[in-house]
Symmetry: C2
Amino acid sequence: ATSFRASEHQHIRYNPLQDEWVLVSAHRMKRPWQGQVEPPPLTTVPRHDPHNPLCPGATRANGEVNPDYEGTFVFDNDFPALQPDAPSPGPSDHPLFQAEAARGVCKVMCFHPWSDVTLPLMSVPEIRAVVDAWASVTEELGAQYPWVQIFENKGAMMGCSNPHPHCQVWASSFLPDVAQREERCQRAYQNQHGEPLLVEYGRQELLRKERLVLTSEHWLVLVPFWAVWPFQTLLLPRRHVRRLPELTPAERDDLSSIMKKLLTKYDNLFETSFPYSMGWHGAPTGSEAGANCDHWQLHAHYYPPLLRSATVRKFMVGYEMLAQAQRDLTPEQAAERLRALPEVHYRLGQK
Amino acid sequence: ATSFRASEHQHIRYNPLQDEWVLVSAHRMKRPWQGQVEPPPLTTVPRHDPHNPLCPGATRANGEVNPDYEGTFVFDNDFPALQPDAPSPGPSDHPLFQAEAARGVCKVMCFHPWSDVTLPLMSVPEIRAVVDAWASVTEELGAQYPWVQIFENKGAMMGCSNPHPHCQVWASSFLPDVAQREERCQRAYQNQHGEPLLVEYGRQELLRKERLVLTSEHWLVLVPFWAVWPFQTLLLPRRHVRRLPELTPAERDDLSSIMKKLLTKYDNLFETSFPYSMGWHGAPTGSEAGANCDHWQLHAHYYPPLLRSATVRKFMVGYEMLAQAQRDLTPEQAAERLRALPEVHYRLGQK
Ligand SMILES: O=P(O)(O)O[C@H]1O[C@H](CO)[C@@H](O)[C@H](O)[C@H]1O
Ligand SMILES: O=P(O)(O)O[C@H]1O[C@H](CO)[C@@H](O)[C@H](O)[C@H]1O
């Protein structure tokens, strides 16, 4: 019998954080691609557009005028999916027809006053201001809501409807699906093994090395063993940290610097402003989130769709929607490619 | 307090078939859309292209020449994600690094010799040939494999790399993730309530009526109470049927006719060849799938991405990837719109 090689032989891998499997079929990168090619991203975004509702001084849909902000700027989403005061649907009359109340708030956070920058093109102190704003908004909304989801959709391919650098924050009265899964998995692991799942996982990846992308004094970035998206990464603190507000100033500075490096590598991979959705997961918040959260380790997920080039993406369709996620290169191959890329942004090298 | 109206007030709904929640925020349809607009689909596909590997008489990547087929045509995928003979990764050395063997086969099924037709433009007897081919391939591959996933990716937006009408069949040595979830949920429901979940669900929807799209002697099509995609539907037999091969000739004819009606409505919604991923789920197969499958009810899921027009889709990104699916119109509103559409295809009406 042939001996197993992950880069040649399909296999399935388990995601112990979200209780899911992925099919890894690396040999499939050999097939030709005749399908949809994405439009190349806009390259000329004006630095300031008075009609863009995210710009300093612009008037928003509700008539409010943005201040002339100089760093980050947080405001209420004018078209929120979650509002603080929706009435409850009342009790369900049948187990197959269950609905429950959902309350919350949706905020938008601008990263920078200019529309023509992205995080990797911002300075480390500018990124540090974003990290501080993430920690503050978690603290503020976490006082009331059990879950505060910070996420960034970057690029038109990721449904981002505005090129200005920004993220969103949706706080909810319920633990969303993915949070529930991570809660369940991390709690079970802690009960069985006596330590947080992601603390042990980070330690293992530091030993095994083959999936590491970047390491710093306080952080590591790796392609998880169970990654679904071609160049998906996981950003983890080395120390056990439950939520963003707990990060020390030194950890925040270091986070800003490692994020800049990661996002520069991403942009360099296909010499394009790399699209992705990213978001932070930490221990639940709110009044009921008491002491028993030690199974949680703070982390950020990066889910970028590109597979082969700036215009050819991985589609999660058909088999993926109906059966199981499938990937075309191994996580180890992806980590190796990301590791090899320079930490200087391709647009800054072109002098 | 205001009284609850699903079309005005956000809430969460439970999917008892896959153990997931969706956030329904119907008021969000009011927001303006400034994001990505999809390229309109190709309107002029040639009926026959000798360089298209799915056409009759064409030469495929492996050098084989397709027969001059006149109905459906099934062949092995030249770039399969699953192959029958991959070696096993061997035992895992750590609970956070679990991999398992995956074996299987991937087939492609052409629906028709012409590249310029789609299922709704085919005749009922031509669709019936597709239904029979689905049943046969399930029987054939199900003799060996525990799961046979039939799925169709339609349209470039759904990563479909070839305009010729076709679907795929991936059979695997493992129960994929979604199949595991449906297995678990249906089994638990049967244990608790003494009848199959989807049989009771279909009966309830026939009584409640507000989410029905189409009904026929043997089948129903509805927008599930927990639908995630804007115009997602579920196609169910009225009788308790576990797998495709069990369908009677009358049920197959009726299925062909209701599918033609559903897909015609879909095309009529935005007057475009409606993109979607669809697939069949039935009881597991293979040698170990014994008698204890009565909790399974055969069904097909349709997952179409379009939201507002032929070129504006719903993006499942950011919040959806990191937290929970979110939809912008209620399932009842979607069903009402689909119900109201004609059953004659817009391209055939234009005389
Ligand atoms: O095999 P195809 O149609 O070329 O590929 C398409 O369907 C597959 C199965 O859903 C996906 O894994 C691919 O990402 C998608 O592009
Ligand atoms: O709020 P935006 O950026 O306009 O909208 C985008 O992000 C949301 C949250 O992930 C998604 O629900 C939308 O489908 C997407 O288009």
